[in-house]
């Protein structure tokens, strides 16, 4: 790979890392903001009790439930952030693809929500393991999701399915078809490049104003020289 290509891939990788961590920081900020207000409510209730206003037990139970939900939510976000950050540690390692996909879609849910779209991703029928570059793999899946979301309107559905086979795995995403144009072409070329770097390929089809992207990911190590570079 020449220097210009290496630099371009490094830039798109950083942009992807930045987009994901920015979204996660926003989610975490909402959790912290909510916990901040709930503890403020608790302080209000304490102050009221000190001033002679009794605190009904149900109100305390409500406060406790809200704190429990938000801390559970925050812990889940931090766990996904940690897993995502460590996906840059190794260029090749064994990946639990079903777990990686579930975590990535949980991260991507915020972008789906902002479009008021719906994400349908049935659980994989069985654990699916492959060897590859987890960061680039996530980047490719995320790029495919963002491509479909770019054309999504309120109420649109994007489906994501995972399947395994003897030659590897396939992640299939289906969603609204975008208007033809240079942005669409560039996005598709980037996706093809990411998959090529993983030793895989993109299959694309269009039917009834919906686009289907099949990300073919090899189960065996890519040929020498075809692996991803950081």
């Amino acid at each position: 790979m020449d220097e210009a290509n290496t630099e371009r891939r490094r830039d798109t990788g950083l942009a992807f890392f930045g987009a994901v961590t920015a979204g996660i920081s926003h989610d975490l900020n909402n959790v912290i903001s909510t916990i901040d207000q709930v503890t403020g409510l608790l302080a209000d209730l304490v102050a009221g009790a000190e001033a002679g206003r009794p605190v009904p037990l149900e109100r305390l139970q409500t406060v406790q439930e809200r704190l429990r939900r938000q801390t559970t939510r925050g812990a889940g976000i931090i766990k996904r952030l940690n897993t995502f950050a460590h996906s840059t540690d190794e260029l090749r390692r064994e990946i639990s693809l079903d777990v990686l996909l579930a975590d990535l879609l949980a991260i991507g849910q915020r972008y789906v929500d902002l479009r008021k779209a719906r994400l349908e991703a049935p659980a994989a029928p069985a654990p699916l393991r492959i060897v590859g570059d987890p960061f680039r793999l996530q980047q490719a899946i995320f790029a495919a999701l963002q491509r479909l979301l770019g054309s999504a309107e309120s109420g649109d559905t994007i489906t994501v399915a995972l399947a395994g086979g003897k030659d590897g795995a396939a992640v299939t995403l289906t969603g609204p078809l975008g208007a033809a144009g240079s942005d669409q072409d560039a996005g598709r070329a980037q996706l093809e490049g990411l998959l090529a770097g993983l030793g895989g390929r993109l299959e694309r089809s269009v039917a009834a104003d919906r686009e289907t992207l099949v990300l073919r990911i090899p189960g065996e190590p890519p040929p020498a020289g075809g692996g991803a570079e950081a």
Partner: protein, 121 residues
Amino acid sequence: MAAFRILLIDDEEELITTLVDRLEFRGLAAEAVTSGSAALARLREESFDAVVADLKMPGMSGTEVLDRIRREHPDIRVLLITGHGSGQEETPEILDGTYAILLKPFSIDALLEKLGVGQDG
């Protein structure tokens, strides 16, 4: 004297539900909705003194809500809240300096101060 009425709009439901509890604790009348379209519908039904809207929400954004309120209910005070602190990605033209922005997390006192409301209504 009628209580000061505040409509809160944010898709973070537990956040605004708690804020409603805290505002009511202070003698204010507060309601919460989770979308801009629900807020506009509510504003057509009832009168409010102030609206607190999240800047970035699914569907209609806080700035779109602000734009509509500006045209349809020019007397209502509007405060935008946001978790984005960079100040670079969320600077739409509509934010011309006449509407306040509060960064999350914020204290209840800061919220009331921005709304120009004394405690206990």
